[in-house]
């Protein structure tokens, strides 16, 4: 019975921690205009912390045996490898890009928005 009670307490604490993390993410959102890069890193770090809590406690991985490594390591490696493999060609560009119509319009769109905000043509 004592073991059950301690599990219940752990689950409740994890739930509270996850709620606090979610509130922190929502608060960080208020500052994304000023410091988008910092907020991006902070909210993703919070997401990793939340995911860790869910996997360790709610999914019981903290108490499972060694099979969890055999099962999860390959998928995790492949999951991380996929975006890294795609990134050089699509995400980053080594050569100068050939401007597409959308890219040109995106540039104009941004310019006109800025001009409107300042009230200057």
């Amino acid at each position: 019975m004592a073991d059950h009670d301690s599990h219940d307490k752990i689950y409740s604490r994890v739930f509270v921690a996850l709620c606090v993390f979610t509130v922190l993410s929502a608060i960080a959102d208020l500052f994304k205009e000023a410091t988008p890069a910092v907020v991006g890193v902070v909210v993703l770090a919070i997401a990793v912390a939340k995911a860790t809590c869910v996997m360790l406690f709610f999914m019981h991985l903290k108490w499972e045996r060694g099979w969890k490594y055999v099962l999860l390591a390959p998928t995790t490696i492949l999951a991380i490898g996929l975006p890294i493999a795609l990134m050089p060609d699509i995400g980053w560009s080594y050569y100068h890009r050939v401007p597409t119509e959308t890219m040109i319009e995106a540039g104009h769109h941004g310019d006109s928005d800025g001009a409107d905000d300042d009230g200057n043509p």
């Binding site: 907020v39 869910v54 709610f58 995400g91 890009r97 995106a106 006109s112």
Partner: protein, 319 residues
Amino acid sequence: MSHSSHPTAAPPLQMGLKLANSKLCLWLFLGTEIMFFSALIGTYIVVRLSAVDTEGNGVWPSNEITHIVTIAGAINTFVLIASSWLVVKAHEEIGRGQFREGLRDLLLVFACAVLFLGIKGYEYQGKWVRDILPGRISETQLQAVEKAVRQIGTVAALDDDALGGAPAKKILVAEHAQLENLLRQEKLTLEAMEARVVTLAHNKEFGGQIESHVMMATIYHDRTRDDSGHLVPLDKEHHAAYYIPYGNLFASSYFTITGFHAIHVIVGMIIFFFPLKKGLIGGGLEEADAQYVENAGLYWHFVDLVWIFLFPLIYIVQF
């Protein structure tokens, strides 16, 4: 000659891992699910980074333009977290024979899933009314004018009564034909074309139809131009931009990722339906059901896990 006298080359069979077969199968299934969603999310990150202007600056459409409501995402995050907590509670309670409490918590999990889909539906509806859908978003000024002319054609095809009588319809049909010609022959600037579209919304007979069917008129009618010659948005609440560069890439990514996640929520509801049915009208839960609830919970936690990453990536991060 007995078989036992020959040493066999095959390794001796042995018992499996010390966990239930159903749980092992579920974890193997989750392995494939991890691959599926990490492919979706990883590709989303990469295409999002690839959305740049000619200077190489990131120009992914902002939340205001695409009607992304951060508070709705935050509430949904809380709903899924609460449901995850309720599942582990239900599992513990059923395992120790507290079936009434376990059933109550499973019902609450089901309610959380319904609430999540309701909020998601509200968000989808916001996209639907603004035509923020894959393949339908104008990404350039020319596309926006083409779309407006096409939508005027739809209005011109309505009955006489809907357009305020035959004479009014005749005027609109003629105007549509003329706009099509002007667009094809490139005789007018796009700004001049916009002005003609917006003017149609002022017509006493069919102006209302134009306003409700032609996105450009809906957003811009009845407003003057600013100093730089751009039409000023009619309604800040609409938040919709005149045209959205990379809008279709956004819409495809958004609906694919959140759509597949929503399907997983629906599947979760089906999974939870069976113990609920048994508990409510099927003779009641028993301790043997704890294993089923644990497996169902593992699946549900994974659905929660995916949303934990989708919330910051779709609603908050701007890179």
